[in-house]
């Protein structure tokens, strides 16, 4: 009885832990294995070495996808955080109808990326959306055709992604700002600090953990981004806005290249790890040091 009492928490956790271990880490290992095989239509289990990785990196389309991933991730994170912080600070000024405004900015988060992508596809389409609207108003030379211009279409994905996610980042930062002790701000003001330097020198540096959550959430959103790309540009025009997640699905289920798709999935996995793991490690270590 005593044994049961002591081990009950572990027993309760065990099934979900087991399921997690198998379905997340088990399948990561499975994917690693498959990426070393010649699997095409269905998985096969004879090892073939690193050839799938060589094939992957010899494909121009993969290079396009990787380049786009870096453009998208960087701009997506930078703009989401900048806009998020700005909105949060503005809302933090004890303004009227804050609850109402906060809901408006947060609302895009309630939409799925498919809806966001479809709506923005219509707005950005030169013969339906902004460009036509402005031209109908009389600005005949107005052009905004990024969506259909190879090389620019990736930026339309950034626009839609930032529109959707910056409200959420605002909410995170707003919560962070609210948790800052009022006394500190008052003390700074008495010392003669301007509002801007109160924020830049005192409050934002205090919000490191909030930055960490925001960045971790945004990085994985960016690397996983699939539905937004599919709904907005479907990787086009041509293959110019292709992303690794789109590439992987195409290879696995459209082109019967399961081995190659696994190799690209592992490359994505390593990319996420390379960015997130050191960041998490340094942040968590810092917290340990503080204790």
């Amino acid at each position: 009885m005593f044994w049961l009492k002591r081990n009950l928490p572990k027993l309760v956790i065990a099934p979900s832990f087991g399921v997690l271990a198998w379905f997340v880490y088990g399948f990561i290992l499975w994917t690693v294995y498959i990426s070393f095989t010649k699997s095409k239509l269905l998985p096969v289990y004879n090892l073939w070495g690193l050839d799938q990785y060589f094939r992957l990196w010899s494909m121009p389309r993969w290079h396009v996808a990787v380049e786009n991933l870096f453009i998208f991730t960087t701009l997506f994170i930078v703009f989401c955080i900048l806009i998020g912080i700005l909105l949060a600070i503005l809302l933090d000024q004890k303004i009227r109808a804050e609850g109402f405004l906060r809901t408006i900015y947060l609302y895009p988060m309630a939409l799925s990326f498919i809806v966001t992508g479809t709506a923005w596809r219509w707005m950005l389409n030169p013969s339906l959306g902004f460009e036509k609207f402005a031209q109908d108003l009389g600005f005949v030379n107005f052009t905004f055709d990024w969506l259909v211009t190879p090389g620019m279409s990736i930026y339309t994905i950034v626009i839609a992604g930032v529109w959707q996610s910056s409200g959420f980042i605002m909410a995170i930062f707003l919560a962070g700002l609210r948790s800052v002790d009022d006394e500190i701000i008052k003390a700074a003001k008495i010392d003669g600090a301007s509002l801007i330097s109160v924020y830049t020198k005192i409050i934002l540096p205090m919000m490191r953990p909030v930055f960490m959550s925001a960045i971790v959430i945004l990085v994985h959103l960016a690397i996983k981004s699939y539905d937004l790309v599919i709904a907005l540009t479907a990787g086009g025009p041509g293959i110019s806005s292709d992303m690794p997640a789109v590439f992987m699905t195409q290879m696995a289920f459209h082109r019967s290249e399961i081995g190659l798709a696994s190799a690209s999935a592992i490359m994505m996995f390593l990319t996420v790890s390379a960015i997130v793991v050191p960041y998490l490690y340094s942040e968590l270590k810092r917290e340990d040091d503080r204790k």
Binding site: L41, R121, N125, V148, G236, P237, I239, A252, R255
Partner: protein, 417 residues
Amino acid sequence: MRKIIIAILAIVLAPTLSYAGSKAEVLHWWTSGGEAKALQVLKDDFAAKGGVWSDMPVAGGGGDAAMQTLKARIVANDAPAAAQIKGPTIQAYDREGVVAPYNIDAVAKAEGWDKLLSKQVAGHMKCDNGKAYCAAPVNIHRIDWFWANKKVLDSNGIKMPSSWDEFNAAADKLQAKGIIPLAHGSQPWQDATVFEAVALGIGGNKFYKKAFVDADANTLGSSTMVKIFDQMRKLKGYTDAGSPGRDWNVATGMVMEGKAAFQLMGDWAKGEFAAAGLKPDVDYYCAATPSDNGYLYNVDSFIFFKIKGQDKVEGQKLLASLMMGKNFQKVFNMYKGSIPARLDVPMDDFDKCAKKSNADLNTAAKKGGLLPSFAHGMTLELGVKGAIQDVVTEHFNSNMSSQDAVKKLSAAVKAAS
């Protein structure tokens, strides 16, 4: 406790006891309008013969979602009775060992499918190096069609083009008048659809076969291929700025409204005209794209997997027989816009375009122009097909030169095969 165990056993075993007859689980992605109606005919036939049909529709992504489901089921050793698979992918599944022992071959031999199907179509349906039937065809789609707005063409004195130069001249004339010559949705598969029709027209039948059936490196890198890409660049100029990413049926709508003159699309486009109440030769024209009696076909078919249980095998046999049945082949294809794969179905009730398709098919078969569409997965391994499609769509949507495109094409095909 014992009662509980008995109850559980009863629940688990119940399904295996209750169906003694034939049973079939069918994976498909025909969920929209006419296709769904057409499939209902098959379901009713199946039920009338005492079969139990369990539907497994996986909508979305032109079959991508269905492929994910199918692969997961096969890997789990739980393949459905039949799945909507076509072209060389049928034989690819056979090579993975999930199709033998070819349950429907006996039906096919008994019903004499060899006589009911053209040799070319039959070839696509056979596994085991052409020895046994393992799939049943339901239709023949033609890809290389031009659809045109009659009013726009007539009022500008333009006839359906019989050569690509003629088309270019007509397009220049229309463009000068502010009409979009070519309604096109620049999605990779649509770009490839246009590309293969142009390749068939400019390169000719033998060239097409060498390039897209045999994937011959010299042909893919030839100067004829440069000319084909030149024509693609011209066609790009005939499309409007909103073209990238547009769905094909939206492009068809542009032709119906008279905003655009032509669309190059397979005969499923006819369904859009029919749904809007428009008639061939009254409201719109249908004609083959310029070529030397060429005919690019896409045959939709169902593959029948290896499966356990006598009732399920019976279900497969019944299903295969019904799919090849005259009634289904006729009704289904009238809904779908295609023509029957089976040769002895009377064409009287079909519309003019379908009759033309049927007549052209016979001519093309005699003159060596009956060729499989690569853009729709009837020839080439999927990886090679994808590699070609990537280059075609990249060229069409950028200012890449034709020479560079040809170089990229050869390299991509080499890397993928």
